[in-house]
C-alpha cells in the first residue's frame, strides 16, 4: 500500500487549475499554428492570427486565455494500491479548486443549484470522474470546461441499424448546429457505445487526448479523419465567420454496448481546449 496525503492532492489540483488556464498544451498550440497555415479565408486567417496573439498575451501578461475559466472537471485514475490519508479526497480536490481559482484570478462560474442559481463564489464543486486502475500511481487530468461549447454538446441514442454512417452524420449535425456559438475552431470529443452516461463521459475524456493522436483502433481512426474532413467542408470556419478550419480534431473513444443500442455523445470544445495530466 502506498500512502498519499490528500494535502498533496490539493496542492497539485491548485497548480493545475492555474497553469491550464494560462497556457494551452503543446498539441493545441501546434494545432492552432497548423490551422493558420491551412486557412484560406482572409478573415479566417486574421481571426486565427488573433487567437495566436491571444495565447501570447495570456502567457506573457498572466491573464486567462478565456474569461470562461470553466467548471473544473477532473479525471482521477487511482491505483488500487494507493491509500489516501489526511482527509476526504473529494474535499481535497475542491479545496485545490478553491485555492487555484482564487489565487490564479480565475472566474468563479459555478452556481450551487441549477435552478436557484446562486454563485458558490469559489468555483466549487468540481466534477470528478474516478476510475480504479491497477498499480500504486494516481493519474490526474485537469480539463476545465467552458460552457459556450458545452451547451452545444449532444447525446444521440441511435439505432444499431444507423451504423457508421448514422454516427458520422450525427457528429457533423451537432457541429453544424453549434456553429458560431461554440467558438470554432473546435475540438470534437465523441463517445460511441456504452450506456447513456458512459458515452457522454467517454466524449468528455476524448477531449483530453492530445490533438494529433488518433485512436489505436483502425476503423475508429479512419472515422476520426473522415468526420474531421466533413466538418471542415461545412465552411463554418474560425469564429463561425467562414473558412476551411472549423475543427482542429475529432477524437473518438468507444466501448462495448447493448445489442439494442448505439449511443453517441458529442462533446464540443472551443479552441481553448484545456487539458493537463500529471502522474503522482
Amino acid at each position: 500500500m502506498r500512502e498519499i496525503n490528500v494535502s498533496e492532492i490539493t496542492r497539485v489540483v491548485k497548480e493545475m487549475c492555474i497553469s491550464v488556464n494560462y497556457r494551452l498544451s503543446p498539441d493545441m498550440q501546434k494545432a492552432l499554428d497548423k490551422a493558420w497555415n491551412d486557412e484560406e479565408s482572409e478573415l479566417g486567417k486574421k481571426i486565427l492570427s488573433q487567437l495566436q496573439d491571444n495565447l501570447y498575451i495570456a502567457d506573457n501578461d498572466q491573464i486567462p486565455i478565456c474569461q470562461d475559466t470553466g467548471m473544473a472537471v477532473f479525471f482521477f485514475k487511482v491505483g488500487q494500491d494507493v491509500h489516501f490519508v489526511g482527509g476526504d479526497l473529494t474535499e481535497a480536490i475542491n479545496e485545490g479548486v478553491r485555492q487555484g481559482y482564487r489565487e490564479g484570478y480565475l472566474r468563479k462560474s459555478v452556481v450551487g443549484d441549477p435552478l436557484i442559481r446562486k454563485n458558490t463564489g469559489d468555483n466549487t464543486p468540481a466534477v470528478v470522474h474516478y476510475d480504479i486502475v491497477p498499480g500504486d500511481k494516481v493519474i490526474v487530468t485537469c480539463a476545465p470546461k467552458g460552457f459556450g461549447s458545452e451547451n452545444m454538446s449532444r447525446v444521440f441514442m441511435l439505432k444499431p441499424a444507423d451504423g457508421e454512417e448514422g454516427v458520422k452524420a450525427a457528429v457533423v449535425q451537432a457541429v453544424k448546429d453549434a456553429g458560431p456559438n461554440a467558438c470554432p475552431p473546435m475540438v470534437v470529443g465523441v463517445g460511441i457505445g456504452g450506456t447513456f452516461e458512459k458515452c457522454a463521459e467517454m466524449a468528455k475524456e476524448a477531449l483530453t487526448r492530445p490533438v494529433g493522436e488518433h485512436s489505436d483502433i483502425d476503423y475508429v481512426r479512419d472515422m476520426e479523419e473522415e468526420i474531421l474532413g466533413r466538418i471542415n467542408e461545412t465552411g463554418i470556419g474560425p469564429a463561425g465567420l467562414g473558412g476551411k478550419v472549423t475543427a482542429l480534431a475529432v477524437n473518438i473513444n468507444t466501448y462495448a454496448t447493448h445489442i439494442a443500442g448505439l449511443p453517441v455523445a458529442v462533446n464540443i470544445c472551443c479552441h481553448v481546449n484545456r487539458h493537463l495530466t500529471k502522474t503522482l
Binding site: 481571426i47 488573433q50 487567437l51 496573439d53 491571444n54 495565447l55 498575451i57 495570456a58 501578461d61 498572466q62 491573464i63 486567462p64 486565455i65 478565456c66 474569461q67 470562461d68 475559466t69 484570478y105 480565475l106 472566474r107 468563479k108 462560474s109 442559481r117 454563485n119 463564489g121 467552458g146 459556450g148 451547451n151 453544424k176 456553429g179 458560431p180 456559438n181 467558438c183 461545412t234 465552411g235 463554418i236 470556419g237 469564429a239 463561425g240 465567420l241 467562414g242 472551443c270 479552441h271 481553448v272
Partner: protein, 177 residues
Amino acid sequence: MDIELQAPVDKNKVKNLKAGDMVYITGTIYTARDAAHKRMYEALAAGDKLPISMEGNLIYYMGPSPAREGRPIGSAGPTTASRMDKYAPALLDLGLGGMIGKGKRSKEVIDAMKRNGAVYFAAIGGAGALLSKAIVESEVIAYDDLGTEAIRKLKVERFPAIVVIDSTGENLYERIS
C-alpha cells in the same frame, strides 16, 4: 470595411453599418449577461427603473475574470448571445443601440433590431486576453452581488468587433451557411 465607432452610438450612424463591416468601438459600453438580464427583465415587469439607460448604448455580453492589482479587468471575451434572446427585444424597444456577443440570434431579436435600428456585433470568442487590452476602465455600477455577472461600465479604446447582423436584418452567419 474598417469603421471607427463612438459609443454610445448615434442611431443614424448605426443604420449605415453593414453586415461584414469591421468596427473599432471607442467610448463607454456596459456589460450584462444572463443574471443581469433576468434582473432587468423582472425590474421592467414590476414597473421599476433600469439601472442603466438603454438609449443609444451598447451592451457587451461578457462576464470578466478577476483583475490583477493595477489592471482594469481580467480576461474579457464575449459570451453566447442567444441566451439573452428572451430578454433582448424589450431592451431594444427601449432604445438599446446594439449588442456585442458571439453566436446566432433569434428571429424575435432580429425583428426588434430592425424595428429599432440596432445592430449586433460579434467579438472573437475565446480571445479574452486580447480583448481585455481594449478595455481601459471598468467599474461595477449595478447588481454587485452577481459577481462576474454584475453590470459594469467599461471605457473602451478601439475595441474590435464585426457587424454580424445589421439594422436591416442582413446576417453574416446566414451568408456563410
